[in-house]
């Protein structure tokens, strides 16, 4: 038996089972005094908005430099991709793959999974529910790992500041990349997995 069929909902904070007043109601959880609804409100719209915003920010995040390395020989600016290529050339394959996975594969996978889930909800595709649930769990799990590149930039800035000798400054790309990470994490939080399991009932009625 599902909660929504029994007119009860689960509190998102304390997981108390709350009796709902009506089919589309809002209740206050008696245990933790938090607002309880059947599903996250406007989950699909909010997730779409956040997904689109992060796609938009992902473009400057890749085009603009993440950091500028100033030495007496001149200034060198590195974007995400040029950083990866630099490490491939210098033979640090491990670092190249860490950066590549964290800053390119993880955000793109996250966005692709969310878009796939949103579209399959909207066209009422009922197949592979378990798989979809696992994909969503994956987006939640990998969400924060794309911050690695931002942290690397921050640590390098903290360590390399020798006046004219060599200095590292953050580029605009780092800001946009940070926004991409935060927005995709918010998108994953806003998405309501339970909607995947709701589709069956829509078809039956």
């Amino acid at each position: 038996m599902r909660a929504i069929e029994c007119n009860v909902a689960c509190c998102s904070v304390c997981h108390h089972i709350v009796k709902m007043p009506s089919k589309k109601g809002i209740a206050i959880c008696p245990r933790c005094k938090e607002e309880v609804t059947y599903r996250k409100t406007n989950s699909i719209q909010h997730t779409w908005a956040l997904v689109i915003a992060s796609i938009v920010f992902y473009i400057p995040a890749n085009m603009l430099p993440m950091m500028h390395v100033q030495t007496f020989a001149g200034t060198q600016s590195d974007t995400i991709i040029s950083g990866v290529i630099y490490f491939l050339h210098s033979g640090s394959y491990l670092i190249a793959s860490v950066i590549f996975i964290a800053s390119i594969i993880v955000p793109i996978t996250k966005l692709m999974i969310l878009i796939y889930l949103l579209i399959s909800l909207q066209i009422k595709n009922t197949k592979n529910k378990i798989k979809k649930k696992k994909l969503y769990a994956l987006t939640e799990l990998i969400g924060k790992w794309s911050m690695v590149d931002v942290y690397v930039v921050a640590i390098m800035i903290a360590l390399v500041h020798f006046g004219g000798l060599s200095e590292i400054k953050a580029g605009q790309g780092a800001n946009y990349f940070l926004l991409v990470v935060i927005l995709t994490m918010l998108a994953a939080i806003r998405f309501d997995v339970r909607l995947i399991w709701d589709i069956k009932e829509d078809n039956a009625t």
């Binding site: 009860v8 108390h16 491990l94 939640e140 931002v150 360590l159 020798f162 800001n175 339970r194």
Partner: protein, 204 residues
């Protein structure tokens, strides 16, 4: 033996679970996702872990985790220096994000865990328990110390070519801290505390 009804967050299935709980994991029969883990001694473990996490957090922030030397110029980095230099350069968004995800939120979570589990260990339910549990629930995805550790390791390898780099004391404390926090995350079972709060209300 009574039954407790638990709702699966993933598929909204209502699951009846016999109470008192057996040890181990409980899974949703419909979708197979983890409902919760039940372990005896959760409160004692969490109390011990949060205390050690607090000590380790202090050590990690007090000592530099990396020092870097180029042509007899030495710089040292700890958590706060990266925030400091970023804000000096006018990168306020970046420095704020790093301050929040690596210092404020992890410290807040450790302190809240300690404030929650220390009284619970002495069989007293603090009056602020509900609020604490709420904040802990919302802040879960935003503590990113484990990601920061990978960031430190990557920059360590990156900088090796530019000069001599020395890993400091606090890098070891930091590595242990990440494991302690991960172990806390696995042990922590808010259901058990909510049940305690419920029982307490019932007895009054």
């Amino acid at each position: 033996m009574s039954e407790h009804i638990v709702c699966c967050h993933e598929c909204d299935e209502l699951v009846a679970i016999p109470h008192p709980y057996r040890e181990g994991r409980f899974k949703c029969p419909q979708c197979g996702s983890l409902l919760f883990r039940h372990k005896s001694g959760m409160i004692e473990k969490m109390y011990a872990l949060s205390l050690s996490a607090l000590v380790l957090f202090g050590a990690t922030n007090y000592f530099p985790f990396l020092s870097f030397e180029v042509a007899s110029n030495v710089t040292e980095a700890n958590f706060f220096t990266s925030v400091l230099y970023l804000s000096k350069d006018g990168e306020y968004i970046l420095s704020l994000a790093i301050l929040m995800t690596t210092i404020v939120i992890p410290l807040l979570r450790i302190v809240l865990f300690l404030a929650l589990f220390a009284p619970l260990y002495y069989k007293h339910i603090p009056s602020y328990a509900t609020h604490t549990l709420k904040i802990l629930e919302y802040s879960t995805p935003w503590g990113m110390l484990d990601v920061f550790l990978i960031g430190v390791l990557v920059s360590l390898v990156k900088l090796v070519k530019m000069g001599s780099i020395i890993a400091g004391t606090s890098l070891w404390a930091f590595g242990v801290l990440v494991f302690v926090i991960a172990y806390m995350q696995v042990t922590y079972n808010p259901h058990q505390i909510w049940d305690l709060i419920d029982n307490n209300k019932g007895s009054k």
